[in-house]
């Protein structure tokens, strides 16, 4: 995530949404944790196909 202030060529009246980036990072973490936990539950419940 680039956090230094990069010059903007357009008439940028609004600097980068840093707070939004933080919230989205938290959201990403939640997705990984919660999705991951159900994925592990699936693996723990065993295989459904034996050759």
């Amino acid at each position: 995530m680039s956090n230094e202030q990069r010059p903007e060529n357009e008439n940028e009246q609004f600097e980068h949404p840093k707070g939004t980036a933080i919230i989205m990072a938290i959201f990403l973490l939640l997705i990984i944790i919660l999705w991951g936990s159900v994925y592990l539950i699936m693996l723990s419940r065993g295989v459904t196909f034996y050759g």
Binding site: Q13, P17, G19, T20, F27, I31, L34, M42
Partner: protein
């Protein structure tokens, strides 16, 4: 201030208002049964003692809850809201108001036609009405009329837009009208599946004109519609988050181009994904399930854009109100405004609903969650809160605008929103957890012989959440009724909070405003994703399943 001060006529306001009256009435009745189902899970069964004088079974209540909340509250609210955004966005009346009125009356007749058999326990087939369970033909005809009625209102939008485009050849379509049109076009593509199932199979079959059906084929027809049905509910809520909430919070829309782009992606990707509801069906090959899983992952992407863009718009608003530091702007948002509060809390729970959706979309993970209580836990966060609480938030400014009367008891509205938020967290979390432990959905667990001890605590929380939600929904209905009946008048008509964009929409790329390429893309994707399997399932269909309608009890 936006220069958009177009005045709707009293007639237009009444037409739109009636949509919301029917919507809130449906929610008020339908939401009576949700809590009674939740309380049944906790062991407090009112169906046997108290309700059985009026309602014949848990499943009649469940059908009413599903049809009235998930089909009627949503469809009537949305067609009303889209009518408003078409007129107000294009700053012109509907091209053929009589056509839209025809669509409206068809929906009303359809609602009554479907409601009668449900109330007589002749249609306790839930809102997915899976054959070979058979409901009274009036139920299927009623549902069809509601859908076709909403189509006709959609045609009214298209003709209005066509006229507007002729008069404004190279102006970008106003965002709120653009989004309304995409929502309606996506809905009309989406409902082709259910329309085929109803017109070709269910209505003739329930009338006895056809002896048997192929239930696997009908599931494929239904779930062609089933998933984009949720985007029909969701996109109007996204419209409010993108195009109204930023202004209400004191800021501007962060990116007009990405807002339009995400809606085009929903038009493309919301329909060719239906097999993710059929991962554990016997009649759909594994390979095609994997293809639809990949397509469902891709439809997660426009929602990720929406998440960032909406939160960035709120950050813009918070900073405009003096918010400092990384997250200081959060505190500066107008949390005491019920309309904003409802949409912020809806968004927070919708984050978790989205994660649950990604879990459901994940092919073999669905083996864990399919038809368990996890699924209602999931969709009470998405349509139950993300959409419904946002719609309530919209009504909190729309009703004063339509009636020129102040909102009755703003504090009650704020309390109502918090109650909904808290009740839903308790209810939905408990349903997610007990679902992972194996509890089935759509089942009065009080009567089930296979309930292990470890579910008891969660089922109790399900009941508690249901009770809180019962208070929340009726407090909302009270605020609505109060706001319509109050004698107090507003000095001047409140202005609908349509947000401006940070950058001039005219600089949005032209290809984001041209319909044909996107519609062709949507058609191609549908042919790829559904063509082969539809041809195969239709050509190999075995119409062997007779109707079963003696299985619904007294």
């Amino acid at each position: 201030m936006s220069a958009n001060t177009y005045q709707l006529t009293a007639k237009e306001k009444r037409f739109i208002g009636w949509h919301f009256i029917f919507a809130v009435a449906a929610l008020a009745i339908g939401s009576l049964f949700g809590p009674f189902q939740a309380m049944e899970h906790a062991g407090w069964n009112f169906y046997d003692k108290f309700l059985n004088h009026f309602f014949h079974s848990y499943y009649e209540g469940l059908t009413l809850h599903g049809v009235l909340n998930a089909l009627i509250w949503t469809t009537f609210f949305i067609t009303g809201f889209l009518t408003f955004t078409m007129i107000y966005g294009l700053k012109r009346p509907l091209r053929y108001p009589k056509l839209n009125a025809l669509g409206w009356w068809m929906m009303v007749v359809g609602l009554v036609t479907a409601a009668v058999p449900i109330l007589r326990n002749q249609a306790s087939v839930l809102y997915t009405f899976y054959p070979p369970m058979k409901a009274h033909p009036a139920f299927y005809i009623g549902v069809t009329l509601v859908v076709v009625g909403s189509w006709i209102e959609g045609y009214g939008f298209y003709l209005t837009y066509y006229q507007w485009r002729k008069e404004n050849p190279n102006t970008r379509t106003p965002l709120i009208s653009f989004m309304a049109l995409i929502t309606m076009v996506m809905w009309q593509i989406a409902t082709l599946g259910a329309a085929a199932e109803l017109l070709v199979d269910l209505i003739p079959w329930s009338l006895g004109l056809r002896a048997g059906l192929d239930p696997q084929l009908d599931r494929t027809y239904f779930w062609w519609t089933g998933h984009p049905l949720v985007y029909f509910w969701l996109l109007p809520a996204y419209m409010s988050w993108y195009a109204f909430l930023p202004r209400q919070a004191g800021g501007k829309l962060f990116s007009d181009s990405l807002a339009r782009f995400s809606f085009w992606l929903f038009l493309l990707l919301s329909v060719p994904v239906g097999f993710h509801h059929q991962y554990v069906d016997p009649g759909v090959p594994e390979g095609w399930k994997m293809v639809h899983s990949l397509l469902t992952y891709s439809v997660f992407f426009p929602s990720m854009i929406t998440a960032f863009t909406v939160v960035a718009s709120l950050e813009n608003a918070g900073r405009n109100r003096g918010g400092k530091g990384l997250l200081g702007w959060l505190a500066k948002l107008p949390w005491n405004d019920p309309s904003v509060l409802a949409q912020l809390l809806a968004g927070i729970l919708f984050f978790f609903g989205g994660i649950g959706g990604l879990v459901n979309a994940s092919y073999n993970i669905n083996l864990v969650t399919h038809n368990t209580a996890w699924v209602p836990g999931h969709f009470h966060l998405t349509v139950g809160t993300g959409v419904t609480l946002t719609f309530m938030g919209i009504l909190y400014w729309m009703v004063p605008y339509l009636t020129k009367r102040p909102l009755w008891c703003k504090k009650c509205a704020v309390v109502q929103v918090w109650l909904w938020f808290i009740g839903m967290i308790i209810f939905s979390n408990a349903m997610h957890v007990v679902g992972l432990l194996g509890a089935p959905r759509r089942t009065p667990l009080g009567a089930a012989p296979y309930i292990p001890e470890e579910w008891a605590g969660h089922l109790l929380r399900v009941g508690i959440g249901g009770v809180i939600l019962l208070f929340a929904v009726y407090l909302f209905v009270a605020v609505m009724i109060g706001s319509v009946l109050t004698k107090k008048k507003l000095s001047e008509e409140p202005e609908p909070p349509v947000a401006d964009s940070l950058l001039d929409p005219q600089t949005t790329p032209r290809w984001l405003d041209r319909w044909v390429p996107w519609l062709v893309g949507a058609a191609i994707l549908l042919i790829i994703a559904y063509g082969p399997q539809l041809v195969y399932q239709i050509s190999t269909a075995q119409f062997t399943s007779p109707p079963f309608d003696q299985i619904f009890g007294g």
